[in-house]
């Protein structure tokens, strides 16, 4: 097991469903995510994305197989605190993880529990607020804010822990276009400037075009993997998993079928505009 990566080896995860039934959420997953990588994890509801995320910071244990975070085994209870300091989680629903009645106190909760000096706590709050564009709302009450604003608080709270890896489960589901673009830019910057590993879970294909690598889950197995453009241009395979490429790529794929030679690496609106105007 490597020191600087998240590794899943032959991971199987089963849940019991009531009396005797069992549901296999993940079937034999083998994955390595390098430190500093930006990975988009995509798949339908029920494909195992969230299960995979929860395995990574030891919230749940694999039924069989091993999960290592920077060399630490998530099955080792004594390592869990260290693992969770390295892997920050942002859950689907922000209401599930906001615990304080003032925005800045919520963000301070993690750093304070690391027993950091007050100056450093403040510094981290400032940075996290600024990175998520929440500076104005610092003294507000989370429950009076909108869904998208709460989602940003959850992200800021995770960032304040300065994790090596950030796992975000559908972080854009309640954000508007502006908030979504801001967040994606933030993530890209956190990844490039600070070397934080980003694992972004989404079924919105437009969200993951910045990723280095996409991992497509279907029924608990990895069924497609590669750079975003590679995954998007194998449209038939993607559709089999219940997903569709971004609309711009759908358009490019369809134009290509009609005989126009469009570069396969075009996956964003901006790239398409440049291509046409060139």
């Amino acid at each position: 097991m490597a020191k600087n990566s998240i590794e899943l080896i032959d991971v199987i995860k089963e849940y019991s469903t009531g009396h005797s039934g069992k549901k296999c959420a993940l079937k034999n997953i083998n994955l390595t995510i390098r430190q500093g990588e930006y990975v988009g994890l995509i798949g339908m509801n029920g494909s195992g994305k969230t299960t995979l995320a929860r395995l990574i910071n030891g919230l749940i244990q694999p039924t069989s197989g091993k999960v290592y975070v920077n060399g630490l085994d998530t099955a080792d209870r004594r390592a869990l605190t260290r693992i969770r300091r390295q892997v920050g989680m942002v859950f689907q629903n922000p209401d599930n993880q906001i615990i304080s009645s003032i925005v800045e106190e919520d963000i301070a909760f993690g750093p304070e529990n690391l027993r950091l000096p007050p100056d450093e706590v403040k510094e981290r709050i400032d940075w996290a607020l600024q990175a998520t564009g929440l500076a104005e709302l610092r003294h507000h009450a989370p429950y009076l804010l909108s869904g998208g604003q709460k989602q940003k608080i959850a992200i800021a709270s995770a960032l304040a822990m300065q994790p090596a890896c950030l796992v975000l489960d559908e972080p854009t589901s309640m954000l508007d276009q502006h908030g979504r673009q801001d967040l994606l830019l933030n993530l890209k910057e956190l990844n490039e400037k600070h070397g934080i590993t980003i694992i972004l879970i989404s079924h919105n294909m437009e969200d993951v075009i910045h990723a280095d690598r996409l991992i497509v889950l279907a029924e608990g197995t990895v069924c497609l993997e590669g750079a975003p453009w590679e995954v998007f241009t194998s449209e038939e395979n993607l559709i089999k998993t219940g997903l569709k490429p971004p609309e711009i790529v759908q358009m490019a794929n369809s134009l290509r079928k009609r005989g126009y030679a469009i570069d396969k690496k075009i996956i964003s609106t901006q790239q398409m505009v440049e291509y046409i105007c060139r």
């Binding site: 689907q92 909108s146 604003q149 309640m174 508007d176 079924h203 219940g242 609309e247 134009l255």
Partner: protein, 286 residues
């Protein structure tokens, strides 16, 4: 006569405290019987606040809201309003609380004091409307259903109240593409076949384009555009609005038009956009 009539509606949260916040500022609009109104706007623009006025959960700070002729500011009207207007909140599946799907969906009718055959009939009807097979799901616990199915159960619970107006707040948030499509089709069907008036809040203009007749655009509590979807799309203030998620293909077309390319900006579907791009590529190859 409009079923929803909003005149100069202003709503201030926690007035007179340091947290005072004006969420709605002089909004005026109306919705006719059987219409499909889309409401779009950025996070915090006042969308959710506005729809909570439609069934009297909130009362105007200033202005007047009239629903099916009832003034929402009068407390005695509230019981009627709650029967007439079904409100489906964001992530409604989080409100499921009974042990079985049947009990959950029938919770509303039970509280109307109906007879048990009536309750059963309404429950089964509501489940069928959302595309669930009553025989297979009625006895199950909501917990063992997927997110998309649970959301349909939650919507069935509101439909069992037989509302004349159905208000949905981000009904597709958090669902995968197939789940989204299913919910959108269901909502459209309710409008077309059952003639229920629909108000749908979304930050995805893509969904509104495909379904709604008229659209209301909110920004910082103000109504900045209201009207037919094609007309609103053409307004520049709307295209520049940061909170609105225009589909990428429309953004592409508008950007190209801005760069002086000869494209038709009046289109609304992906297929139409593709034709426009094909035309451009033809010209380029000449």
């Amino acid at each position: 006569m409009p079923v929803i009539d909003v005149q100069n509606l202003t709503h201030v949260y926690l007035p007179g405290t340091p947290y005072e916040k004006k969420a709605l500022d002089g909004v005026t609009l109306s919705v006719n019987q059987g219409e499909f109104l889309g409401v779009v706007g950025a996070n915090g623009s006042g969308k959710s606040t506005m729809i909570q006025h439609f069934n009297g959960l909130l009362s105007p700070t200033a202005g007047k809201v009239t629903i099916c002729g009832w003034d929402t500011a009068v407390k005695q009207h509230r019981n009627e309003l709650w029967k007439k207007v079904g409100l489906v909140f964001q992530y409604p599946e989080q409100q499921l609380f009974e042990a079985t799907v049947f009990d959950d969906v029938s919770y509303g009718p039970r509280n109307l004091g109906l007879s048990s055959p009536d309750i059963e009939r309404r429950t089964i009807e509501a489940l069928k409307k959302v595309g669930l097979e009553p025989d297979t799901v009625a006895g199950l616990s909501p917990i063992c259903l997927s997110g998309g199915l649970r959301r349909r159960v939650a919507i069935a619970g509101v439909l069992a109240m037989k509302p004349e107006i159905l208000v949905l707040d981000e009904p597709t948030a958090g669902l995968d593409p197939l789940g989204k499509e299913m919910i959108l089709k269901l909502i459209k069907k309710l409008q077309q076949e059952d003639h229920i008036t629909i108000v749908m809040v979304s930050h995805s203009i893509r969904e509104i384009i495909l379904l709604a007749g008229r659209v209301a655009v909110l920004e910082k509590g103000r109504l900045i555009a209201f009207g037919n979807i094609k007309e609103v799309l053409r307004q520049e203030c709307f295209q520049a609005l940061p909170g609105v998620m225009l589909p990428d293909y429309l953004q592409l077309i508008y950007t190209l038009a801005g760069r002086g390319k000869n494209v038709n900006t009046g289109i609304i579907t992906l297929a139409e956009a593709e034709l426009e791009i094909a035309k451009l590529l033809e010209e380029k190859n000449k």
